[in-house]
């Protein structure tokens, strides 16, 4: 971490300016309000001419639109576009489908608010909600229709400011200098800032990526000591990042979600890819010059961006899951991963050669530890030229991939965006000839420095170039690749070793004259997109891509997984991995994880084991290590620790059916796989700032062990119902903090009473061999002796599920009877397109009144035994009532009555 290499707010003029503005300094009012093309249109004009701000005296155009499911969009841009330069509007992020859900506004209601002298315009937003444009003072908000309570607003503190583009005058110095770099800033100041208020909120969350607590701590206000810097959103390759800092890391999602006991959740998204800085304002932040009566249950925030336009989305909730559904309806639902990608990945910088690969692969088998994917980092290439192989180290890459594939395993190679400027490199030659590189401020190909040395970067804003890039992944073009090979995008911030703040200069030029400053946070997104589309093309549209990327933007969830970058082998980094993954999860990126073990440094054995135990529950589960570290594959730390890591990994494999079902849920609704406790228990205040524990789906609660030689861990179990310890099978009361005794064997993990979770308990080499294995259903009964759960199955790789080729079951238990029924709407699932031969070998009943000896299966009128069995075969866990060998087919309708 080199603080001085990165700009802070005071070194960033737009941020410094915006932060120094006083509440109420916005002097705009809305005029000329009308309905046009189903939108509410208005002009924003200054109340009185401000001679000092002549350039900002032109009217701005505001467009307010309303979409289904409680989404309001507000755009503000300049009216007369500067002929030389159009302000950048982010393309390729909003879902086409979303635009089709626009509600055609036809009526505007006029209303006087709070004794204003002028009217406000009120439109329908959704049942029970209205959108309001307050003319003077200018303010936009969503409110509840029945009582007028605000939900979410812009400019309630009058901090709105919009620097309009202007002609450069004699004597204007627009350049910005930072360290040895100069930003020419040919278009001058063009920043935008405004305040956003969340009502009925106790906390705000989201805006990844920062290594901070999940509930965002205030960055300004009388009692703020922790942070003086705003949360920064600027994609950067930060060497050895700290575990507690508002500093922006590899990716940016300008999406914030609020939550509070009083109302629930609301969300706000600003579609803008320029550098952004966001202040979370502590209560009483403006107590000296307050415009509004202070409200305890309200969180004010200040959003500042260097360029672009205002294109904002209001999500009214009211529940946390509603907000993520609304948000992902705009930016896209998370893609459905292949089954193998949800299993365990083994990576290291670098597995040196084919022999090393074979050796690691066979060691997993030798120690009976499952894994699905083996990864190759940059050293596998010929001189860091991606799509090539070091043929000394990897003489037969196809054979290598095929050999692993014969055991059902896959491989991943790295492809980064920097392209070596080497005349003999075909990719460079083509890109050079076709003029596909990003240009510097003078119009020449931008020439930066990265792993290969002098490198250039393709301009992926241009769809033609993206398409060209995608073609590079075809089996013909990528020599040495097979269909078992998937891709890893690293360094796509983009990382430029000799650039300002280790990235590309802001005045570099993209397709259509767009400056890098305007789309910086989008660069990695496009690279991820082009790669993912490349794999899609390679598989003729039939094979689901798997691409892991480091940089991301809103919408990246459609293109693959994200990991939390170059973390460090420290306990504190294990701890912060949970809020980091959760923050991504609630911002659409449901497929994420941290490098297990910590990338930099050598983890102590205990830390490594704890990391495996926690990482097994990350949505994306990969072990990785820096090349200066000692080898740390699970079998290198003595038999006892091998056993512990094997069990941790096995736990993940057991729960794969559950994870896969959750990924499908995310794919259809945006609800993340890993959830903050408050997402499942929105009314339980104790969960609001808890980010040491998290939910996997609605049924499992997991808490990491974040300290050395821990004997006890404090675990808060939310809600009113009980929780079943997954080792001892004992019940723990909900709504309490428990002093939970921990051993080295496991981290605290519980199943929530009232849920049914599908598992596959048999151990295999990889997920591929589990396909036909029988299921175990774990039923945790609630206080009314009832429970329910779901299971989703498809072929695990293709897109046939989109046409109904899947099985989706619902299990319900009540009155002593378990019923399996079809959970899919009859129109969506075609039972003949996909089925499963798998059976249920075991049903575990937690919380059932003891005494039951047999159960009756219908149809078939078959009796099966109920006996005591282990909750987890490998552990020394508790005994639980087990229905032995019901052997019903998982895809069928059936019922089992406890007798």
């Amino acid at each position: 971490w080199k603080k001085e290499e990165f700009r802070d707010c005071n070194q960033t003029p737009f941020c410094k300016r915006a932060r120094s503005r006083k509440p109420g300094s916005c002097n705009l009012r809305a005029t000329d309000v009308s309905i046009s093309d189903g939108d509410l249109i208005a002009k924003l004009v200054p109340k009185e001419e401000n001679p000092e701000q002549l350039h900002n005296n032109k009217p701005l155009v505001l467009t307010l639109s309303v979409y289904q499911d409680g989404v309001m969009r507000v755009k503000i841009d300049e009216d007369d576009q500067n002929p030389k330069k159009k302000r950048f509007q982010v393309p390729d992020v909003i879902e086409e489908d979303f635009l089709n859900t626009k509600l055609w506004l036809t009526r505007v209601k006029e209303e006087q608010i709070d004794g204003d002298s002028s009217f406000s315009s009120v439109v329908y937003l959704s049942d029970g909600y209205e959108g309001v444009l307050r003319h003077d003072p200018f303010e936009i908000f969503a409110r509840e229709s029945k009582n007028g309570k605000r939900v979410l607003s812009i400019n309630s503190n009058g901090l709105f400011d919009f620097e309009q583009l202007r002609e450069k005058k004699e004597g204007d110095d627009w350049e910005e200098r930072f360290r040895s770099h100069t930003d020419t800033r040919p278009y001058g100041p063009q920043s935008i800032s405004f305040d956003v208020s969340f009502y009925g909120a106790d906390f705000v969350y989201g805006i990844p990526q920062h290594a901070t607590s999940l509930a965002l701590k205030p960055t300004r206000g009388p009692n703020v000591e922790e942070y003086s810097e705003p949360y920064r959103l600027f994609n950067l390759d930060v060497f050895e990042y700290l575990h507690e800092s508002p500093f922006g890391l590899y990716g940016s999602i300008p999406f914030m979600i609020s939550h509070g006991k009083a109302r629930g959740s609301s969300g706000f998204f600003w579609l803008n890819a320029a550098e952004m800085q966001i202040d979370v304002l502590g209560s009483d932040w403006n107590s000296n010059d307050s415009m509004w009566p202070l409200n305890n249950h309200r969180v004010d925030t200040l959003w500042m961006s260097e360029a672009g336009v205002v294109d904002t989305f209001f999500f009214i909730g009211p529940g946390p899951k509603d907000v993520v559904r609304q948000y992902t309806s705009v930016t896209g639902r998370p893609s459905m991963p292949q089954l193998f990608a949800t299993a365990y990945h083994q990576c290291r910088w670098n597995y040196r050669d084919e022999e090393d690969v074979y050796n690691v692969d066979s060691k997993f088998d030798e120690h009976d530890i499952p894994y699905d994917v083996l990864w190759l980092d940059i050293e596998h290439t010929d001189g860091k030229k991606y799509f090539t192989w070091d043929r000394v180290l990897f003489p037969n890459p196809e054979e290598m991939q095929n050999k692993l594939a014969a055991k059902g395993r896959h491989m991943v190679t790295i492809v980064d965006p920097h392209i070596k400027r080497d005349e003999s490199y075909h990719i460079h030659k083509e890109a050079l000839e076709k003029g596909y590189y990003v240009k510097d401020a003078t119009g020449k190909d931008y020439d930066g420095w990265c792993w290969p040395g002098a490198s250039s970067y393709t301009d992926l804003l241009n769809p033609e170039i993206r398409s060209w890039w995608s073609d590079k992944f075809s089996l013909d073009s990528y020599v040495g690749s097979t269909k078992y090979l998937y891709i890893w995008n690293d360094m796509n911030e983009p990382s430029v070793f000799n650039g300002p703040e280790v990235t590309m200069p802001r005045d570099a030029l993209h397709h259509g004259g767009v400056e890098h400053r305007e789309l910086h946070n989008l660069y990695g997104y496009y690279f991820h997109m082009a790669t993912s589309n490349g794999l899609l093309k390679r598989g003729d549209g039939k094979d689901r891509p798997f691409v892991l990327a480091r940089a991301f933007f809103a919408g990246s969830q459609r293109y693959g997984a994200i990991w939390t970058g170059d973390n460090t082998a420290e306990w504190e980094q294990l701890r912060v991995s949970v809020p980091m993954v959760l923050s991504l999860s609630i911002s659409g990126i449901v497929f994420s994880g941290a490098d297990v073990g910590g990338f930099f440094g050598n983890p102590e054995t205990e830390l490594l084991v704890r990391w495996y135990q926690l990482g097994a529950y990350y949505p994306f589960f990969r072990g990785h290590a820096h090349h200066d570290t000692k080898r740390r594959e699970p079998w290198l730390f003595g038999e006892k620790n091998t056993q512990l890591m094997r069990e941790a990994i096995h736990v993940r494999y057991m729960y794969l059916p559950y994870f896969y079902t959750l990924f499908r849920e995310a794919n259809s609704t945006g609800t993340p796989v890993a959830r903050p406790l408050w997402m499942e228990f929105p009314g339980d205040e104790n969960t609001f700032s808890n980010d040491e524990a998290f939910m996997v789906g609605n049924g499992l609660l997991v808490q990491g062990v974040y300290t050395e030689r821990a004997k006890h861990v404090s675990v808060y179990l939310p809600g009113e119902e009980s929780w079943y310890d997954l080792r001892s099978a004992s019940a723990y009361k909900g709504g309490h903090t428990h002093k939970y005794e921990v051993s080295e064997d496991t981290i605290p993990s519980f199943q929530r009473a009232g849920t049914i979770i599908p598992r596959k308990d048999r151990l295999r080499r990889s997920s591929t061999q589990m396909e036909n294995d029988p299921y175990t259903l774990v039923i945790a009964l609630n206080s009314s002796q009832a429970a329910e759960g779901e299971l989703y199955i498809d072929d695990g790789k293709s897109f046939e599920f989109k046409h109904g080729a899947f099985v989706h079951r619902r299990f319900t238990f009540s009155s002593g009877k378990l019923i399996s029924s079809n959970a899919a709407a009859p129109s969506t699932a075609e039972s003949n397109l996909f089925s499963s031969e798998c059976t249920v070998e075991r049903i575990i009943l937690l919380g059932l009144t003891p005494g039951a000896k047999t159960a009756l299966i219908e149809p078939g009128n078959k009796k099966v035994e109920i006996e005591l069995g282990p909750i987890f075969i490998e552990g020394n866990g508790g005994s639980v009532l087990t229905i032995r060998k019901p052997n019903v087919r998982i895809a069928d309708d059936w019922s089992i009555q406890i007798l």
Partner: protein
């Protein structure tokens, strides 16, 4: 239902255990539960240890038994049963009909037997070599021990003489000193009378000298600066920080500065400290990225991830990480390493003299000054050659000769008085110097011999011949030199990196350990493990760096061709032969 009786009946250990089922339920092997015959292999896990499911995949902890007729029987993990992959050569692990596994036991068995036979042959031959070496080692050691006692005698005699000579010499010197002092006194008295005031300022002289030193230092530094492209660029960049054109030019620098390939090795030039003073409070010169050229900046920033720093700065950086020097990469890694089995070693008979040559080369390097006879067995060659210059006359032993000389001299200068007879004094001094030089030589010879014999040469002294030898292996651009009882190094062109100093044998003489080698940036001190395998010659078969700066090599040597192991292999072959199906002749 599948009949597993076949599988079980062949397992003689388990047969007795499962027999109990005929008379009711039996306990799981771990004693945790009971199960009945109906529960045996019913594809449901009753025993956590898998003992009720030896033929299915139901228990994660189970083991499946393959009979593998034609080859050797084998237990495989239950996770392999009916997983669609053929694991047992007889195909018995895949019985659910989803895949067809051909029975390959005969082919596999044949290959395995052939391999084993070869291995046995290597061992048989290797054992002979080993015995011979042990014999030789014992003789050599005996000889060296004799040499030691002989040297000890000589040392004793010589010590006494040297002592005598020293006394005389001191007496002479005392006399001389007295004489000198007397003269000086006289001289002083005369001088004092002469001059009154002429005192040179010593302090001033000193200052001048210091200044001179500083000047040359600065001069050197300037020379460095002028040669360094980085600083040139840095200075320019600094002067023209506001000049955008300049900046853009700098962006293009990489091509130009590629003329200075030396930067590549040292991405963080240290010599631009001068620029740090320009208002920047950074302490670490290498991280003063402010004033670097674009290419250098790229290299410096990139080097953080790469860990490429010059060794000097690293010491402080990496010092903290030395502690975790555990054996993470334990024996597991190499145990299964394909190709490291001793049977690979018998494929080349070439360069018989390789090690002889290396050996002598090495000796020249390391015992510089000693005349080494490489053709003879090394046990006494060192010692003899060492004394070549003094043992020219044969008859009276050189100790006697010395004694005589000493006596003669002592006699001649027995009663001396001032003024000292100069020629006598000189000859005593000369004799003293010669005698004490000789003594030093004997002492050092003695100590090196003692040192040598103190080494751990193995249970049967089978590693005696390793002493003074080096084994070399070329891997890409590196040459690795492994010198047991001394050190191991990696040579690239003219630069040598120490991989470690001799530490000890480990793992019952199956591993040689070299530790505390050159420090690694961002890592531990380098270390090397050498795994030993039976082979007919001493030969490094592979060398590797599985973790950064932790090296692993494999050395084939007759020293590891042990009789017990041979017996084991022969038994194994016998078992394999017994398992061969009848009527299946060599194809």
């Amino acid at each position: 239902e599948v009949d597993y009786g076949n599988i079980l009946s062949k397992n003689s250990i388990d047969e007795n255990y499962y027999k109990g089922l005929s008379s009711g339920a039996i306990k799981c092997k771990d004693g945790s539960k009971k199960f009945t015959k109906a529960q045996l292999n019913d594809d449901f896990c009753d025993c956590p240890d898998g003992s009720d499911e030896p033929g299915t995949s139901a228990c994660p902890n189970g083991k499946f038994y393959c009979k593998n007729a034609g080859h050797v029987p084998q237990f495989i993990y239950s996770s392999r049963v009916n997983d669609g992959i053929c694991d047992c050569c007889d195909g018995s692990d895949e019985y659910d009909g989803k895949v067809k596994c051909p029975n390959t036991c005969w082919e596999v068995g044949k290959v395995a037997r052939d391999k084993l036979k070869k291995k046995i042959a290597t061992f048989q031959e290797g054992i002979t070599v080993r015995r011979k070496e042990i014999e030789e080692a014992k003789l050599a050691i005996a000889k060296e021990e004799a040499e030691i006692s002989k040297l000890k005698n000589e040392e004793k005699v010589l010590k006494a003489r040297v002592e005598q000579l020293r006394e005389k010499k001191e007496a002479i010197e005392k006399a001389e000193e007295d004489e000198r002092l007397k003269k000086e006194k006289e001289e002083k008295a005369r001088k004092e009378a002469d001059d009154a005031k002429q005192e040179p300022s010593k302090a001033e002289e000193k200052t001048d000298a210091q200044e001179e030193a500083v000047k040359t230092g600065i001069h050197d530094k300037i020379g460095l600066l002028e040669d360094s492209p980085s600083v040139k660029d840095a200075v320019e960049g600094h002067d023209n920080a506001a000049d955008e054109e300049q900046h853009n030019e700098a962006e293009q620098v990489p091509k130009e500065s590629s003329q200075h390939p030396e930067i590549k090795e040292e991405p963080a030039p240290n010599n631009n400290k001068a620029d740090v003073s320009s208002g920047n409070e950074e302490k670490d010169a290498t991280e003063n990225t402010e004033s670097l050229s674009n290419e250098e900046l790229g290299r410096v920033v990139g080097s953080r991830w790469l860990g490429k720093k010059s060794e000097k700065e690293t010491e402080s950086v990496g010092a903290g990480t030395d502690s975790d020097h555990d054996e993470a990469l334990s024996d597991n890694h190499e145990e299964e390493h394909p190709g490291y089995d001793s049977d690979v070693d018998d494929h080349q008979d070439d360069d018989e003299h390789k090690y002889d040559d290396d050996d002598s080369e090495d000796q020249v390097d390391d015992f510089a000054g000693e005349d080494h006879d490489s053709s003879s067995h090394k046990s006494d060659s060192d010692d003899d050659s060492d004394f070549a210059d003094t043992t020219t006359t044969t008859s009276p032993s050189w100790t006697e000769k010395i004694q005589q000389t000493v006596k003669r001299i002592l006699r001649s200068v027995n009663l001396f008085r001032t003024p000292v007879n100069i020629s006598d004094a000189d000859s005593i001094r000369k004799e003293y110097d010669e005698a004490s030089a000789k003594l030093t030589k004997i002492e050092s010879k003695l100590s090196s011999l003692k040192q040598k014999l103190k080494q751990d040469f193995g249970r049967d002294k089978e590693f005696y011949s390793f002493h003074g030898q080096c084994f070399e292996s070329k891997e890409n651009k590196y040459t690795y030199k492994i010198c047991p009882f001394k050190q191991a190094s990696q040579v690239e062109g003219y630069s040598t990196t120490r991989l470690g100093n001799w530490d000890k044998f480990e793992d019952s003489y199956r591993t040689m350990l070299f530790t505390s080698g050159d420090h690694c940036w961002n890592g531990p001190d380098r270390s090397l493990k050498v795994k030993l395998r039976c082979g007919l010659k001493n030969e490094v078969t592979d060398i590797d760096e599985p973790s950064r700066c932790e090296y692993l090599a494999f050395l084939a040597t007759p020293a590891l061709c042990l009789e017990e192991k041979l017996e084991e292999l022969q038994n194994k072959l016998e078992t394999m032969n017994r398992e061969q199906p009848q009527g299946h002749d060599e194809l």
